[in-house]
Structures are given as structure tokens and as C-alpha cells.
Amino acid sequence: MAQYIIRRLLQAIPLLFLISVILFVLMQSSGDPLATLGGREPPRAEDRIRLKRQWGLDQPVLVQYVYWLVGNDWVVTDPATGETGTRKGVLRGDFGNSFVTRQPALKVIADRLPNTLILMLTAEVVIIIMSLTIGVVSAVKQYSLLDTVLTAFSFITYSVPVFLMALILMYIFAVNFRKWGLPYFPISGMFDPAKGRTFQEVAWHLVLPVLTIALISIAGYSRYIRSTMLEVINSDYIRTARAKGLSERRTLFVHAFKNASLPIVTLIGLDLPFLLAGAVVTETIYAWPGMGQLFINHLTRSDFPVLMGILMMISVAVVVFQLLTDLAYTWLDPRIRYT
């Protein structure tokens, strides 16, 4: 098993290298970081030329990539003074400084990552719990009224665009509840600056964004769970288990559910790395200071160091979660073995 894991990790290296090359080249055509610099008017021409030189953007793409990867502290970047560069490169943990905030890219990301994890992990847990409940119930009570209602509900929420869902929830629970004198949810942010970042405050601010993400996502998982549960429930070994007199609960949750969950684990394994990317629309509407908002803000400024940092982080996460998913199979299905 250990050998297998090591092999998979080694295989990931050329893959990540290839991804980084492709992303870096794509970045070059995604816009010019010097085009607006965040101002309302384009910068002066002489400043544009100076910054291009100072930021090394006047170098060929290949050179820029090499500096990004291994740094430029080993080359003379200014022939006039004989000075070498100051960047260490990604391989030594330096993703460069953001063109926007001038802080190290990793620091910019680290500021936001925990916020996104709070939002997305809570949402994912809610989604899994709700979709498992709905999926299992509608499989066990197939074609019942409950099945129909739950299916209809999950499809209605699934069909609503996320921005609309967010605005509807905000309109009802934040704006109108306040008007009606009911306890209301906050419109924006992660906590009230006057009250500070307490558990209570964050939980309170989480409710609407989590609900938004959960409502539009449960249909996806619950339909999968319903169909795999149905397949398993009708298989021979479940009939055998029932015939041997096992309780319905034990049959369903120990024998049926464990086997039915294999495809779900694949799905979750595929989705988990993207939780790191945050929820762009939801975060923007609720002003949740997460990765989705960060990515969009820095994309509009073509802030390559931060964008590359985010994209490479997600790439690594995809590789790692794929591996974890494969490992989870061995636990769920003893027939699967890796050597």
C-alpha cells in the first residue's frame, strides 16, 4: 500500500509540472496586469513601461516561467548594477508577490482560505446530510408521496440559479424579517465588526450562504444516492440478509448503504478539491471574504502570482483527493486491493 501511495505521488509530479506550464501560458493571454492597475484610468505610459521592467514582465514567457518556478536569485536581473533577483520560486515556496496587494501570494491566499473552508465545509456537511437523508428515504419509500415531494423539492431548488436563490433568501430572511420585526439574518460579511469574530457571530452569518449553496446542490447527490440505493436494495445479497432475519435497519445501513456509497465517495472525492476554490457567486453576494471572491478580484487585475497560487493549490488538491478517494474504496469494498 505504501509503495502504491508513493508511486501515485511520484506520478503526480510530471502531471503538476505540465499543468503549471499550461496554466502559466494561459495566464499570459488572460489580460495585462498593467492595463488598469485598479485605477479608473489606464496608467501613464512611462509608469507602464517602468513597472513592466521592474516586475520582469518584459521577459519572454519561458524566462518568466523559469523565474516563477525556480526563482531569479541566481541570475543578474539588472546588468547596470550587477544585482541579482530576489525571487525564490515556487519550488522553494515563493509564489511571488501579488501585483495588487504587494503581499506574498501565499499570504494573500492564506488570509482567505480558512474563511472559504468554514463556508464550504459547513455547506458540504449540510449537503451530504440532507442529500443522504433525501436519497435514502426516497429509495426506501420509492414512489411514495414522500419520495415525490422530496424529489420535487430538490429539483426545484436545483433549478434556481444561485444568484437568484441568494437574493431570494436575503430578501426574505434579512430584509423582510427585519421589516416585520422578526429576528433577521445579516446581509453581508462574516461577522459584525462591532461584535468581533466570535463563534456565534460567524455561525449566524453562515446560515444564509450555507443554505444557498446547500439548496442548489442537494439534488445532485440525492439523486445518485437514490438510484444506487435502489440498485443495491433489489440485489440478491440484501434479499438473503432479509431472509436470514436481519433487522431492516441493519440490512439497510450496514449492508446496503455501505455498498451503495461507493459512487458517492467518488463524487465527493471529485468535488472536495473544488471546495478550496470557494463559491464565487454566493461569496460575492453575501460579501463572504473567501477564495471565490479573491479569485475573481485578482482575475480582473490579471494578478498572475495569486491566480497561479490558487490554481496550483486546487491542482494539488485534485491529485491528493483522487488518491484519498481511491484509498477510501479499499475500506468500503474489500474486493478492491492496490499493490
Binding site: 489580460g31 495585462d32 492595463a35 488598469t36 492597475l37 485598479g38 485605477g39 479608473r40 484610468e41 489606464p42 496608467p43 501613464r44 505610459a45 512611462e46 509608469d47 507602464r48 513601461i49 517602468r50 513597472l51 521592474q54 516586475w55 530576489t86 508577490n97 495588487v100 504587494r102 503581499q103 488570509d111 482567505r112 474563511n115 446530510i129 440532507m130 443522504l132 437523508t133 436575503m170 430578501y171 430584509v175 429576528p183 445579516p186 446581509i187 453581508s188 461577522f191 465588526p193 462591532a194 461584535k195 469574530r197 456565534q200 457571530e201 455561525a203 449566524w204 446560515v207 460575492t284 453576494i285 453575501y286 460579501a287 471574504p289 471572491q293 478580484n297 480582473t300 487585475r301 490579471s302
Partner: protein, 539 residues
């Protein structure tokens, strides 16, 4: 499980209801749609960052709501009468107030002014712009309350440029000397001292900044103890927050929301920002459409563009059509009127210019060239709407329109980066532009700013060249007498108007909303917090 979730919701509801609202002195909340990218003035040109760092960095002088200069760190605004400006207009002497302090108690003096200049000009730093510092011939700080800036020639735009935000030498010099650059300093995110009305107390990236009153501020201590700046990127949520009273001051909300805000008791104001949305015509003989070489064709196009209905229908009657590149400032020529909408006259002008529909396909032509114009804009919705309307109006007078849209970071790319406007790959373009507001100067229409392979940095994206206009621009640049300079600009404005190379579509003022709680608020479009010490809140 579903039941448990509901119970959890209810518990949360109850918990939230009993959390007490803390009340520590007077407090207001200001909201922006964008988070400042950087708090050090040297490293940002972002509007919201400029507003915000005005709370932390004081300047030699500021502007009141009519854009008249008022002294802050100086005893008086320099003038030839008080000896602050030399007779030849090349030397500016700043007389600083005595005994000024940074918020940490360190003295604020002319050394800080000089240090700021040094930091902008050091090649070890990468400030976003070196204007106006790269035009100084020299600076001197002969004593703590005197600072002298010298130029090689008379420097007219001083009112709008020499009042730069001053950096704290005692904090930043040690960093510069140790690291070799100020670029990555933590100070840009967490400034530890302030010379402005407030001090940064807490910064939660992506959420808010909390400021507390600076007891050492030279103009006095603000009445409002706590000022919170929050960031709400979504327009709907932004307006909802102002409507709900969560936000007391906001700006840059859509014109469509103005009525609702006014109905809710929010005081919505139009504040001049120097910006005007206008049509730029590409008059390059090589790159633009040949028809646009003729001023009457440009005039016809301008007349076929209904800026009045754009104002009424797309801007909800909030932003009026304008006539000048310097709309609502002293430099606007008062005799000019917005170009009228007159399709008949527009068609007549095109007929006269020889552009007729000879092949009956509905589009005019001349010498085998069709009058089809490339209309470029960013992807902003209102601009796309304008393009669609223009297609309709121009179609009625037999002018074809090819619509081109670009993301703004592509649209505004320079010539060297192949930007569509800079390289002249358009015939008409629309965007909102301003002069060096509050200074009226601009290089937009100058001959030597026409971009080319030899001059990729050129800013004249109209490719327009008129030596007469150039002369006037040169003349105002060395005119330090205010009234004379205004007079020159009135001439420039008239010439631009008659040439139809840039035509005002609307006066693009900033919309500011002042919530019912905030009292005594005076604003200007450059430094909205210039009078924040006198703001108050009603209980």
C-alpha cells in the same frame, strides 16, 4: 436529520436575537463595492483605496466641496502673494504647521515630505505611478517646517498634484534600509501610524476595516469615534445594506436604485469626479475609417447619437448629458451645449460629405468604401446597450455599426500590448475618462502622444493631431495664474467641441448616498473624508 437541521436553525435564530449590540461612542459604517488593494498611497491607484487611505495620510492641502484648496499640514496654501510660489512659477515653498505629530507621537515634519519623494523615485521601489515626483527638479528640507520643491520650468498643475500623501519616515525608513525595498512591507496592509483623522484599529481582509479617531490629527479630533469601512461587492446587497441602515455612506451604486434610496430617506448626491462618458473617434488616416477624416461626418455621427434618451432611459434621468471634457468644473466652457439629436441634419451632413447609398443596400458608401464603423466598448452592460441603440440610430441614417466588446483589462491595454483602442483597431469607442482631475491638464489630444511603434507609450488614442490645440495645451502648462489658465481651457474646450473627436455623452458624476443617521456631511469627489472631523450622527 432534516428535523435536527430545523432545530439548529431555530437555536441560531434565538442566539442571534439575544446578542447585545455594543455601543462604544459614536460609530458610522461606510461601505465600498471594492476592497482597497493597498493602503499605502504609493502602491495604489484604486479609487476606493484613495478614499480610504485619506483617513490615514494627511496632505499639504485638501479640497473643500467646491474643489477650492484648504490647508491641512501647511499654514496656508502657497500663492505668489504669500511667497509660496516664486515669481517665475518654478519654486514652491511649503510652510508646515509647528508641532505636528503622527498618531504614535512622533513629530511630522518636512523630513517626511522629502522621504516620500525619495521613496517614489527610488528604483528599488515599484510605485504604481511616479507622477508628479518625476517632474521635480529637486526637493529641499532646510528646516523642519520648510519644504521646497523646484521645477525646471513654471509648473501650472500644482494645486491638483503637489498635495501628495506623506509617508512616515520614522516607520518606513528602517524597513527600506533593512529589506532594500518597501514593496512587500506589512505596513501596506496594516499601517501602524497615521497622520490623518483616523487610525487603523483592525483589518479583516475581504470584510472590513475598523478605524478609530486619531487624537493627534492636525485639524482636530473627529466627533465620530469609530468609522468602519465594509466591502460589499454585489450591487444588490450593497443597496440593500444602505436601505436597511447597515451602511451610512456608500457610493457607486447603480442609477436604477436612486429613486428607491431617496424614498428610504437616503440623501443621494451627484459629486463631480472629473469623469465624463464620451465618444472617442479614431481619426488616424491609416487605422481608422476614411470617412472619419471629415469633421462633418464625425459631427453627423455625434448628432445621430441620442445622448438625451440615453440619459433618460439608461441612466434613469440621474446623470445628465454634457458638453465638455471638463463638465461641472471651472474649466468647462460655459457657452457649450450638449450636441443635439437630429437625424435629419445628420443625414444631410453625410449627403454633403459625399457618403450616399449608391448600391441601395441601406448602407452609405463612397468610392467603393462602405460607411460601416467599428464601435468598441468594454463589456459593461450600459455600454452594450448604448452600442445596440447606436446600431439602431445610425442605421436610420445609413451608417452600419460593427459592435466590438472587450473585457476592460484588454480594452485598456496599451499600444505595446496590442490594446484594441490604443492600436487604433476601432472607429468609435466609448468609455468614461477624466483629465488629471482636479487639475484640468490632459495629454489625450496631443500630437506627440499619438501611439506608434516608435512611441508605443502614446496616450492619444484618437490619433488626433492639431498643432493649434497643442500650442494651447503647452501654454496652459506654464500658466500659473489661475484665471488665465481657466481662460485657455475655455478655448481648448471650444476647439475640441468643434472638432468632434471627443463628444460628451453624459456627465459621469459619482453618486453618493448619505444615510439618514449621518449629519453635517460635506463631500467632494477626490477626498470624500476632507471634513470628516465635523461629521456627526443623530442619536
Amino acid at each position: 436529520m432534516g428535523k435536527k437541521y430545523l432545530v439548529l436553525l431555530l437555536v441560531l435564530l434565538l442566539v442571534g436575537a439575544v446578542v447585545p449590540v455594543s455601543a462604544q461612542g459614536k460609530s458610522v459604517t461606510v461601505s465600498w463595492t471594492q476592497e482597497p488593494d493597498n493602503l499605502t498611497p504609493m502602491y495604489t491607484t484604486m479609487t476606493f483605496a484613495g478614499y480610504t487611505n485619506g483617513l490615514l495620510f494627511a496632505t499639504a492641502w485638501d479640497y473643500d466641496e467646491n474643489y477650492n484648496p484648504v490647508p491641512v499640514l501647511l499654514t496656508e496654501v502657497p500663492s505668489p502673494e504669500n511667497g509660496g510660489i516664486s515669481e517665475d512659477g518654478t519654486t514652491f515653498t511649503f510652510r508646515l504647521k509647528e508641532g505636528m505629530l503622527w498618531s504614535d507621537g512622533d513629530p511630522l515634519d518636512s523630513a517626511d515630505f522629502k522621504f516620500t519623494y525619495d521613496m517614489y523615485m527610488s528604483d528599488q521601489n515599484t510605485p504604481l505611478t511616479r507622477a508628479p515626483f518625476d517632474q521635480f527638479a529637486s526637493v529641499e528640507a532646510p528646516d523642519p517646517t520648510t519644504f521646497i520643491i523646484k521645477f525646471d520650468q513654471p509648473y501650472a498643475p500644482w494645486v491638483g498634484t503637489l498635495n501628495y500623501k506623506v509617508l512616515p519616515e520614522h516607520i518606513l525608513r528602517p524597513i527600506f534600509e533593512e529589506v532594500g525595498t518597501l514593496d512587500g512591507a506589512e505596513f501596506h496592509r496594516q499601517p501602524t501610524v497615521s497622520s490623518g483623522p483616523y487610525v487603523l484599529a483592525e483589518y479583516s481582509p475581504g470584510s472590513f476595516m475598523r478605524f478609530t479617531a486619531n487624537p493627534n490629527f492636525v485639524l482636530g479630533v473627529p466627533k465620530i469615534e469609530t468609522l468602519v469601512v465594509t466591502f460589499i461587492p454585489d450591487d444588490q446587497a450593497y443597496v440593500a445594506s444602505l436601505l436597511a441602515g447597515d451602511t451610512d455612506l456608500a457610493t457607486f451604486f447603480p442609477a436604477s436604485e436612486v429613486q428607491a434610496l431617496r424614498d428610504a430617506g437616503v440623501d443621494v448626491r451627484l459629486i463631480a469626479s472629473g469623469y465624463n462618458e464620451g465618444l472617442f473617434f479614431n481619426v488616424s488616416p491609416e487605422r481608422g475609417h476614411p470617412a472619419l477624416q471629415d469633421v462633418n461626418v464625425r459631427k453627423a455621427i455625434a448628432m445621430a447619437f441620442d445622448r438625451f434618451s440615453i440619459s433618460e432611459d439608461l441612466n434613469y434621468g440621474v446623470l445628465p448629458p454634457g458638453s465638455s471634457f471638463w463638465e461641472q468644473t471651472p474649466y468647462e466652457n460655459p457657452d457649450l451645449e450638449p450636441v443635439p439629436f437630429d437625424l435629419e441634419q445628420a443625414a444631410a451632413l453625410l449627403d454633403e460629405a459625399g457618403w450616399t447609398d449608391s448600391d441601395g443596400d441601406g448602407i452609405r458608401d463612397k468610392d467603393g468604401v462602405k460607411l460601416e464603423l467599428r464601435f468598441a466598448a468594454t463589456t459593461r452592460q450600459i455600454r452594450q446597450d448604448m452600442q445596440a441603440l447606436a446600431q439602431q440610430w445610425f442605421g436610420e441614417i445609413g451608417v452600419g455599426v460593427i459592435i466590438q466588446n472587450y473585457e476592460s483589462n484588454v480594452f485598456f491595454n496599451g499600444y505595446a500590448e496590442g490594446g484594441p483602442v490604443a492600436t487604433g483597431d476601432y472607429d468609435i469607442a466609448t468609455w468614461s475618462s477624466n483629465p488629471n482631475f482636479p487639475d484640468p491638464d490632459t495629454v489625450r489630444f496631443q500630437c506627440d502622444q499619438v501611439p506608434s511603434d516608435e512611441n508605443p507609450a502614446g496616450d492619444n488614442w484618437n490619433y488626433f493631431c492639431d498643432p493649434e490645440l497643442d500650442k494651447l495645451f503647452e501654454q496652459q502648462r506654464v500658466t500659473t495664474d489661475y484665471n488665465q489658465r481657466v481662460e485657455i481651457f475655455h478655448q481648448i474646450d471650444q476647439m475640441l467641441y468643434d472638432q468632434y473627436v471627443w463628444v460628451n455623452t453624459w456627465y459621469d458624476a459619482d453618486l453618493w448616498g448619505v444615510g439618514p443617521k449621518l449629519q453635517n456631511v460635506r463631500l467632494n469627489g477626490i477626498t470624500p473624508f476632507f471634513d470628516v472631523v465635523n461629521w456627526d450622527v443623530s442619536e
